[in-house]
Amino acid sequence: MSSGVFVSKNGKVTEAVGIQPKEALLFAPSRKSSSQIWREQRTAMKRENKRIRDRFNEATKRV
């Protein structure tokens, strides 16, 4: 089964299978980049900010 992890050993990059030496350089491609995460967090921040303002508007509205 694929581990989804790669290893660089002696200058060669292969999928990490089995026991790995302590010197092995391991890495796994991330599902999201920092830019994607930032964009998502920004969208969430705007949404939450709007929700808070809407709630306060509703709470202070006189009907």
Binding site: V5, S8, S30, S33, M45
Partner: protein, 384 residues
């Protein structure tokens, strides 16, 4: 004046009927607008889906009030939840003020005996299957446990567990003892009164947040138009970055509410900056305890700097080396590769990294992506 709509929710069990009726009557007499299936919601008109109607009523209410006894009620196979539970989820998702009253005896049994059992079961399941157990699995396990009170439907335990996962407080409900709604709603008014006068402060903070966001958006557009001639003191530049990159916890998530802390990483201990010149990456600066070779040839795939360089512009990657007890977060911008060194706890080895690779990536990359964006923009301005 608008009146407070209170949706009264519970399983239609005999023990709770007088309580529901009393709540409806008392809340109406206090001037509120209670909504309850058998009083003013259903089953009219005849052709309407009753579940849909209840969920819509929850959506229209201001407060969701739940009474929980020993019966689970109607289980909907399609939803994998009872109707009452669906109403609770709807209220929680729509961020309604949610008031839960649980039978005091059942609540005590839940917190003293059942909750630890479920937590043990969840831990065991996660260890063996690497996923959160299904509601059916939890209920089956509880059903087979003969030390638990037989008169309580297993779904009730699962429901209580879900309520605690969502961090909703459960008030005591003593059957036969009326709830003093006047006192209860007076306390709610007190709590609301503490928050409402903060409207102006919250509005100001909200506006400032938008201003910060707009300013960053401006930077985001302006910096790519700028040519930065270089760093005055590259080590100082890296030191400033290093000092702001703090460590954190590494959490493995099982669904939206459950996370397990599987490790930690320390504050950034070193940073290097390499620049591509011809067929090599040349060291531009380093701070902290980094080996930082003078250069790496671009065909040297033993170097995390080189591997990141080959990911292309704006490529980034977290690496791990057990012998160094270190995570390396590498970011390429144009011809530059920045690497931040984050020490790992000595108990991290290759097995743990393979097992929790996504948690490691998430922990390090998600820590403060705004700072990483800003660093990338500045480094990007130095590409001429």
């Amino acid at each position: 004046m608008a009146r407070t709509k209170v949706f009264i929710s519970s399983v239609n069990e005999d023990g709770l009927k007088p309580l529901r009726r009393a709540a409806f009557r008392d809340l109406a007499s206090l001037g509120h607008d209670p909504l309850m299936w058998e009083e003013n919601l259903g089953p009219w008109p005849a052709n309407i889906d009753p579940i849909k109607k209840c969920l819509e009523a929850v959506g229209q209410s201001d407060i969701y009030l739940l009474f929980l006894g020993n019966k689970a009620g109607t289980y909907d196979i399609r939803a994998g939840a009872t109707v009452t539970h669906m109403e609770f989820i709807q209220a929680h998702e729509q961020e309604k003020l949610t008031l839960v009253f649980g039978d005091a005896v059942i609540k005590t049994a839940f917190f003293s005996t059942v909750k630890p059992l479920i937590e043990q079961l969840v831990d065991q399941h996660i260890k063996e299957k690497e996923q959160f157990p299904s509601p059916i699995h939890i209920m089956d396990s509880l059903r087979n446990n003969h030390t638990l009170p037989l008169h309580v439907d297993p779904y009730v335990w699962y429901f209580l567990y879900d309520i605690t996962l969502r961090k909703v407080y459960i008030d005591d409900l003593s059957l036969g003892v009326p709830i003093d709604w006047k006192e209860y709603f007076s306390d709610l008014l007190r709590r609301g009164s503490l928050l409402l006068p903060l409207e102006q402060s919250i509005e100001q903070n909200s506006a400032r947040l938008e201003q910060f966001d707009e300013a960053f958006e401006l930077l985001n557009r302006l910096l790519p138009q700028v040519q930065i001639t270089g760093l005055q003191r590259a080590e100082d530049f890296l030191s400033i970055i290093k000092s702001r990159m703090t460590g954190g916890v590494i959490e493995h998530h099982y669904g939206p509410y459950v996370a397990e802390t599987v490790g930690e990483y320390s504050d950034c201990s070193a940073a290097t900056l390499y620049i591509q010149v011809d067929d090599r990456l040349q060291l531009a600066a380093k701070v902290g305890h980094a080996a930082g070779a003078a250069y790496y040839r671009l065909d040297n795939h033993s170097s995390y700097n080189v591997l990141t360089y080959h990911k292309g512009d704006n490529g980034e990657q977290v690496f791990f080396k057990a012998s160094k007890h270190m995570f390396f977060y590498c970011i390429r911008t144009g011809r530059l590769v920045l690497t931040l060194h984050f020490p790992s706890h000595p108990n991290w080895d290759y097995k743990k990294f393979i097992h929790y690779k996504e948690a490691v990536n998430d922990a390090i990359i998600s820590k403060n992506p705004l700072m990483i964006e800003l660093i990338k923009l500045i480094l990007g301005g130095m590409q001429s």
